[in-house]
């Protein structure tokens, strides 16, 4: 098969973050500031990404504003020709920093919100942050950025999906991502607490469908399905190593942000290799390209061209073999592990909050 070019790079600039959301997809073992790529290393990576075909870049984390060189990185990305999104909690997005980012050509800001109710929002974030997001959103609008809001949905906020949509509308978002929790990293650890009930999921879907119609032309609403309640798995980024790359703060390059779950693969780093080599040649990126690796029931299934067997990271996390069918799929007997996880959900908000040992920022 001919090798496709990637379209999207998610650059996780740092794991440092003032929030402690228990649904974070970052891995449990996170490196500190001392292991982060330098400004020049990221610049080189952005240039190589564009040469490889990447069209858009997410500056993410952790909280990317924890990097003091963020405007230098956004500047380089813009000059390289990448359509760049700042993926932020908005904590630290002051008028001065937002203005500096706009002046170097940053086009799109995505702010996370945790809930419509500031008290529960702050509870899930493990920090008083809800009011800061409203202030930052006003600045983002005033400075003319393209503006998205992302809300991660789970047991404790799914019943307020309608209010969350109204809040995003009032904050002036051009686009709203309503993302049911994907169980990777910290979210996997907190699955019993975060998993909604089927009744919640069905009510939320109806509210989201109605809002998509009402907000059409004003705010684009993307609804990311809760895949444990689906019949078939999600077509993870169009397949392994097909469109998408993630680079972790220390330079490890992954085909999916959940890939650190797969302990049987070695992920090469941009410290040792060019991005081009990693994409084309590295064993990890080749491991699950195409469909030669597939086991039954995927191998003989007509849906393999639709969902590519689902998510390799989820298959590994739930079954111990990344080549298995994503067990969300109801066509595999492995589905029992997903059904059991749904049954075992307690909804008790005894979260294990996201923490790392935070080193002082490099100056």
């Amino acid at each position: 098969m001919s090798l496709s070019r990637p379209t999207t790079l998610l650059a996780e600039l740092t794991y440092r973050c003032p929030l402690h959301c228990p649904y974070c997809s970052n891995p449990l073992a996170m490196t500190g500031a001392e292991d982060e790529l330098t400004t020049d290393q990221w610049r080189r990576v952005f240039t190589e990404a564009r040469e490889l075909g990447v069209l858009q870049l997410g500056l993410s984390g952790g909280e990317p504003l924890a990097r003091k060189d963020l405007d230098a990185l956004a500047d380089h990305a813009h000059r390289a020709g990448l359509y760049t999104t700042l993926v932020t909690s908005a904590v630290g997005l002051t008028r001065d920093r937002a203005t500096a980012l706009r002046d170097v050509g940053l086009e799109h800001v995505q702010i996370s919100i945790q809930d419509s109710d500031p008290r529960t929002a702050d509870h899930i974030a493990g920090m008083r942050a809800a009011h800061l997001k409203l202030e930052a959103a006003a600045v983002v609008r005033e400075l003319g950025f393209a503006f998205s809001i992302n809300a991660v949905l789970h047991r404790a906020n799914l019943d307020r999906i309608g209010e969350i949509i109204e809040l995003a509308g009032a904050m002036g978002a051009d686009r709203l991502e309503l993302a049911n929790t994907q169980y990777y990293g910290w979210a996997f650890e907190n699955r019993r607490a975060l998993m909604p009930t089927r009744e919640q999921v069905e009510r939320a879907q109806a509210v989201a469908d109605d809002a998509m119609r009402r907000y059409r032309g004003q705010m684009q609403i993307i609804y990311v399905l809760p895949d444990y309640y689906e019949t078939y798995p999600k077509p993870c980024y169009g397949g392994w190593g097909a469109n998408y790359l993630v680079i972790t703060p220390n330079g490890q390059t992954l085909p999916c942000h959940g890939a650190t779950h797969i302990t049987t693969l070695h992920f090469d780093t941009v410290r040792d290799h060019s991005l081009d080599w990693i994409w084309r040649e590295s064993p990890a990126f080749q491991a699950y390209r195409g469909d030669e690796w597939m086991l039954e029931p995927c191998r003989s299934c007509s849906r393999k061209a639709i969902d590519f067997g689902g998510c390799r990271c989820q298959a590994f996390a739930l079954t111990g073999n990344a080549a298995n069918t994503d067990p969300v799929c109801t066509l595999t007997p492995l589905r029992a592990v997903v059904d059991r996880a749904v049954e075992e959900a307690t909804g008790e908000p005894d979260y294990r909050y996201r923490y790392i040992h935070v080193e002082p920022a490099r100056t």
Partner: protein
């Protein structure tokens, strides 16, 4: 949805029409995705400036390609309106 010749299309605020020198192709880039464009698609979208109507866009392309393109232009833009990449006023 049906579009009239008088409708005035413009690109969604979050979408960017770029020429990609790597692929040697026009692309429409938007959050979380990108659409590779063929030559005629790019020619249509380049004329969507929020000022020209669909009829005016079609007239420009008629002259360029020496054929009547109004129906094709309307159908193409209707698909992009459906996907929310193009807005009409």
């Amino acid at each position: 949805m049906s579009l009239t010749p008088a409708a005035v299309p413009s690109l969604w605020r979050l979408a960017r029409l770029n020429f990609d020198p790597v692929r040697q192709q026009h692309v429409l880039v938007y959050p979380e995705g990108a659409m590779m464009l063929n030559e005629s698609g790019a020619a249509i979208l380049q004329l969507c400036d929020g000022q020209r109507s669909i009829a005016e866009i079609a007239r420009i392309l008629d002259e360029r390609y020496h054929c009547d393109v109004l129906a094709d232009v309307t159908e193409y833009l209707a698909q992009l309106v459906e996907r929310e990449f193009v807005r009409v006023a």
